[in-house]
C-alpha cells in the first residue's frame, strides 16, 4: 500500500530541472521541433494517437517531445490531456469502403478488383541500414505518379459474402459501449473488446496475436484485406439538423479471413477478425484482427483451449499500457510504512524461528 510522504520539494524541483536539461540534450545540436516529429517520426505519432485514443498529430508530436521519445509516457500525456476536454458528441460510423487508400493489399486474392496497392511500405525493403540518411540535406526525388483508375476499391470480404462463404456482419446503430465512460464489464460485447484492443498496447496485442499463430488458440488467419488511407468523419450537428464532415482521419483497417469448420448451428464458412486503428499502424491492425478473432470462440461455438488470447479477462484487463504502467511503476514510490511493517513482521518471525531452532538443537544435544 502506498502511504503519502511529505518533503523533498527542493530535490523534486531540481530533478525536474535536470530532466528538462537532459530532454534538450547537447545544446550544440539543433533543437527538434514538434513539426519535425509530426512529419518525420510519423509512425511514432500514429502509435501515440492510436494508444492515446486521441487523433491529433500536433499534440502527439508534442507529447513525444515532452516524453523524450518514451512512447508509453507520451500516450499517458495524451490521455491526461484528453480528460481536460469536453466531448461534443460522437461521429457517424466511418465508411471505410470509401477510404482514399494509399495502401491496399490482399493475401487471399491476387486479382482483387481495384488491384493491389503497395503504398509507402517497408515491405520489400532490404532492412539494411541506409547511411545516406545519416548525411543531412538532399530531398528525396518526388515519388512517381500514375493515372488513377476511376473504379472504387470494394471490400474484399464482400466478394466472399455474396456466395455465403463468409460470415456476414449486420449493421445496426445501437449506441456502442464506451470504456472511457463506464468501467469495463465482463463478459464484454465485441464492440467493447474492439475499443479496448484498438487503444491497447501494440507490443501486448502483437504478442497475443503471435501466440495464436504459434498454436495457442489457433484460428488460421489470412489477411483478406489490409487498407490504409483517409476517411471522412461526419457528425450530426443539432443546430443544423443534418450531418457535416468535421474532418478526416487516416486509418488502418485489417480484415482477416479465418477457417471455420462449422458447428451445430452454423454451416462451414469462413469467419472474420477485424482490426481498425488510427494512423498508419498496420502491425497493430493485423494483430488486433487476430486477437479479435481469437476472442470470438464462444460466439462461434468453438472450444476453449485455455489459450491466453481466448481469455477475455486476461486480454482486456492487461492491454492498456497506461493502466499497466501506473500499477507497475507505483511500486517504486515510497512504501516506507508498508515496508516498515513487513520488516517488523519478518524480524518477529525470524526471532521465533531462531528460538525454535535453538531449542531443537539443544534438545538434540541433550
Amino acid at each position: 500500500m502506498y502511504v503519502a510522504v511529505k518533503g523533498g520539494e527542493r530535490a523534486i524541483d531540481n530533478a525536474h530541472a535536470f530532466l528538462a536539461e537532459e530532454r534538450r540534450g547537447d545544446p550544440a545540436v539543433a533543437e527538434l521541433s514538434t513539426a519535425q516529429i509530426r512529419e518525420q517520426l510519423r509512425l511514432s505519432v500514429n502509435r501515440v494517437m492510436a494508444e492515446g485514443s486521441l487523433y491529433d498529430p500536433d499534440l502527439a508530436a508534442l507529447a513525444i517531445k515532452q516524453a523524450r521519445g518514451d512512447l508509453i509516457e507520451a500516450v499517458f500525456l495524451l490521455r491526461a490531456y484528453r480528460t481536460t476536454l469536453p466531448r461534443f458528441g460522437a461521429s457517424r460510423p466511418v465508411e471505410t469502403a470509401r477510404m482514399a487508400c494509399t495502401r491496399r493489399i490482399s493475401a487471399t486474392f491476387k486479382d482483387a478488383p481495384g488491384g493491389q496497392i503497395l503504398g509507402p511500405t517497408f515491405d520489400y525493403t532490404h532492412r539494411l541500414l541506409d547511411f545516406k540518411l545519416a548525411a543531412e540535406g538532399a530531398l528525396p526525388p518526388a515519388a512517381p505518379t500514375a493515372p488513377v483508375p476511376t473504379s472504387d476499391l470494394p471490400h474484399i470480404t464482400g466478394f466472399l459474402n455474396r456466395d455465403g462463404l463468409i460470415q456476414s456482419e449486420t449493421a445496426y446503430d445501437d449506441i456502442p459501449p464506451d470504456l472511457t465512460r463506464e468501467p469495463m464489464e465482463l463478459p464484454a460485447s465485441r464492440a467493447l473488446r474492439l475499443q479496448a484492443l484498438t487503444r491497447g498496447d501494440e507490443g501486448f496485442i502483437l504478442s497475443l496475436a503471435y501466440s495464436t499463430q504459434r498454436g495457442y488458440g489457433r484460428t488460421h488467419a489470412f489477411v483478406g484485406e489490409l487498407r490504409i488511407g483517409t476517411v471522412a468523419v461526419e457528425m450530426d450537428i443539432p443546430e443544423l439538423g443534418f450531418a457535416v464532415e468535421i474532418g478526416e482521419v487516416e486509418l488502418t483497417e485489417c480484415e482477416t479471413v479465418n477457417q471455420f469448420a462449422g458447428s451445430k448451428t452454423e454451416p462451414p464458412q469462413f469467419t472474420r477478425g477485424y482490426g481498425l486503428t488510427f494512423g498508419q499502424t498496420e502491425r497493430k491492425a493485423i494483430a488486433m484482427s487476430l486477437v479479435d478473432r481469437a476472442l470470438r470462440w464462444k460466439e462461434l461455438g468453438e472450444d476453449d483451449s485455455g489459450a491466453p488470447a481466448q481469455d477475455e479477462e486476461f486480454v482486456l484487463m492487461h492491454a492498456d499500457n497506461v493502466q499497466a504502467t501506473g500499477f507497475l511503476e507505483h511500486i517504486k514510490l515510497p512504501h516506507y510504512v508498508d515496508f516498515q511493517s513487513e520488516l517488523e513482521l519478518i524480524r518477529k518471525l525470524r526471532a521465533e524461528a531462531l528460538t525454535a531452532i535453538g531449542a531443537a538443537r539443544q534438545e538434540a544435544a541433550e
Partner: protein, 144 residues
Amino acid sequence: MTEPSRRDWMGLLARACADRLAALMPDEPEAAFLRPPEIGTVMVRGRIGATGAAFNLGEMTVTRCSLRLATGEVGHAHVQGRSRDHARRAALVDALMQSPRAADVQTRILAPLAEAETAARSLRAAKAAATRVEFFTMVRGEDK
C-alpha cells in the same frame, strides 16, 4: 458546376488548412459570438467488420464556434484540430455564404480551398496508383 450545398462548404472548411484559410481572409466582417470558439473532442466510431455494429474507435480534437454577422446571418463551424482562429473563420464563411456576398466568398475563398484539396488528393492518389502491382502465382512442378 452545381451549386455548393451548405454541407459541402462546411466540410471543406473543416478539412481546410487553417493557415491557408487565414491567408484567403485578410478582412473579417463584424460578428458577435453566439458560442465563442471552444476546443473539445468527438468520439470517432467505426463498424465491426466495416459493415456491422458501431464501436468506439477513439476521439479526435474538434473546435466549434457559432456567430451572427452584423447583418443577421448565423454561421456555425465544427473544424478538426485545436485552432480557435480556424473555427471562427469557418463560422464567418458559413454565415457569409448565406448573405448576399455568397458568390464573392465562393470565388475568393471556397474555390481556392477546394482546388488545393483536390490537387493534394489527386497527387496522393496518383502516387499510390504508381505502386499498384500485379502478382503472378508461379507455376509449380505439380501443375504440369
